[in-house]
Subunit: 141 residues, 2 copies
DNA sequence: CCAACTGTAACTGTTAGTATTACAGTAACC
DNA sequence: GGTTACTGTAATACTAACAGTTACAGTTGG
C-alpha cells in the first residue's frame, strides 16, 4: 500500500486525538516518522479535500475540521491511493491471434476492478474515529 | 499486484485451454508477453504446489495436472503474492512516548490483515475454469 | 552425440518510492 | 517594520524493487 495513504491516516488520527489543536508539519512528521516536507505534501491534499484547515506563518499548522466519525478509510484511499491494487504490469496483447492471449488483459482487469471494490467496501466500514478508539483500547491493556 | 501472480494465472488459463498438451516456456512466454526464463521460474513454483507437471529435455514443457475448476485465484495468490497489500512502509514507532505514535503500527497492521482476508475471500470465488469461461464469453460477442 | 528442453543463478537497466534540500510566500509577535 | 516560525511546492538525490536478459549446468528423446 501507498505510504501516502498511511501518512494521511496517521496524521488524521493524530489530529483527532488533539482536537482544536494546531500541529505543525514538524510535530506530525516526528510522530509519523518521516520528513516534514512529505507531511506538508500529503496534508496539502487533505486540505483540498476539506478534511483539515491549514494556517501559514508563525504559530501555523494543521487542524482537523471534520468529524472523525465521518471520515472513512475509503475516502482517504480514493483520495491518496486509488488503483494501488491494479497491477502496473500487463500480460497478453489484444492484437494477438490467440483467444486466451488477446482477451486476458480485459478479463484480468475486470478481476482487479472487482477486487478494488471489495477493498473500498472494507475500508468504508472503518472511520478515523474507530482507528483512534482501537488505539485507546490497546493502551488500556 | 505482483506480476508473478499474473503470469501464473495467465499460464494456468492457457494450459487449461489446451488440455493434455505440453507447452514449452517459450510458447507460454510469447502468449503472456514476457521472457521464457520468467515463465520457467513461475511455473517452477506451480510445479512444487502440484498444479502443473514438467518434463525436461527435448519435447518437454508444462502440462496442467489439476482440474481448472478446482484452482482458485486465492490459492495462487497465497502461493505467489501473499502480503502484497501490506505496506512496506511503516509509520510510528512502538518506543515512542505518544499513545497514537506508539500504537499505530499494530492498529494499521490489523487493518491490512483484515483487508488481505477480504481480498483472499474475493479471489477464492474465482477459479481458473471461470477465467477461461469469461474469456470464451468475450470471444462470442 | 546432438538438439531441445527445464532449472537456476547472476547481472543489468529502469522505474517507483522515500528522503532531503531549497526557497518563495505568509502570518504572528515584538 | 523587521524577525521568526510556519506552509506550499518544486527539484534533486538516493535507494530498493522489479522486469528483462544472459548464461550455463542438467535432462531427455531421437
Amino acid at each position: 500500500m501507498n505510504s501516502e495513504f498511511i501518512i494521511a491516516v496517521h496524521s488524521l488520527v493524530l489530529l483527532a486525538h488533539k482536537p482544536d489543536c494546531m500541529a505543525s508539519s514538524e510535530e506530525i512528521a516526528a510522530n509519523v516518522c518521516t520528513h516534514p516536507a512529505r507531511v506538508r505534501k500529503v496534508l496539502g491534499f487533505l486540505r483540498k479535500s476539506g478534511y483539515v484547515a491549514t494556517r501559514e506563518g508563525s504559530g501555523g499548522g494543521y487542524r482537523l475540521i471534520k468529524d472523525p466519525t465521518d471520515m472513512t478509510l475509503a475516502d482517504i484511499y480514493r483520495e491518496m491511493a486509488s488503483g494501488s491494487l491494479t497491477p502496473s504490469w500487463c500480460s497478453g496483447n489484444p492484437e494477438m491471434d490467440c483467444m486466451v492471449g488477446s482477451n486476458m488483459q480485459d478479463v484480468m482487469n475486470a478481476v482487479f476492478c472487482g477486487a478494488e471494490q471489495k477493498l473500498e467496501a472494507y475500508f468504508a466500514e472503518i472511520t478515523i474515529g474507530q482507528m483512534l478508539s482501537r488505539i485507546k483500547e490497546r493502551q488500556h491493556v
